[in-house]
Amino acid sequence: MKEIKDSLDFLDREIKVKVPDINAFRAMVEQVEEKKQEKTRRETLLFLASAAGILFIEIYSFNRSFTAFAVVQALSLLCLPISLVAWRRQKKKQVTS
């Protein structure tokens, strides 16, 4: 056991590490952050498009028949807790991973 520890300590002391230049890290951060921002922009756009779509459906169904409108409202109410549960599960997965 001691030999394993000693040999890995030796490896730790003697191994030559090629640390990339600081500019490589700067470039990496820029690239990844840009990708993250792009993803956020797309998600925001998708959210806005969904919200507009839902609003359109609501207005259309209200104009066509009150029953249809009531059904759409009932469905939206059902979606809310399902979305909340899905969002919380996703958040929990992110934090524990």
């Binding site: 056991m1 030999e3 394993i4 520890k5 000693d6 040999s7 890995l8 030796f10 490896l11 730790d12 003697e14 191994i15 030559k16 590490v17 090629k18 640390v19 990339p20 600081i22 890290f25 700067r26 990496m28 951060v29 820029e30 990844v32 952050e33 993250k36 992110q94 934090v95 991973s97």
Partner: protein, 176 residues
Amino acid sequence: MDEHLVAQAKRGSREALAQLLYANYEIVFKYLIKFTLNKGTAEELAQETMVRAIEKFHLYLPERSKFSTWLITIAQNLYMDQLRKRKREQKQIDEEISIESLELVFSEQDDTWKRVLDALARLSEDIRLPIVMKHYYGYSLEEIAKRMSIPLGTVKSRIHNGLKTLRKELEEDEGN
């Protein structure tokens, strides 16, 4: 110094984040090289760790752990994922791991360490990993089982068989 940079990076400073990663790269690489015993693999994984850290930096909680500890956790998870993927795809590593690739310079006094590293390199990764985790980093068997997602009994038998193989190889080497 890390705490200061973490605080700045948390406020959105990309320069601070780059400095943090630059300052901790060596720690991550040295952690990985002890498991992989392969420079190329360790470098690839270190690079992936840096990218993953940037992606998930918003989830890092400074009050929970040091930045280097957090990075090492990411590195370890990436390495475990790689092992699992290789096993799933039933990919065999064709090239034998040779400690020559580490470019270490051994003096005559270091012969034992060279033989031990050689013998460790010849073990398969899923046997070497728990041995290094237990006998170098001091993880408990339960922690190893949890991190590797294998039963406790499997961890025990891998460590037992791995040490048996190592002892046999070192005895044979001494005999030669």
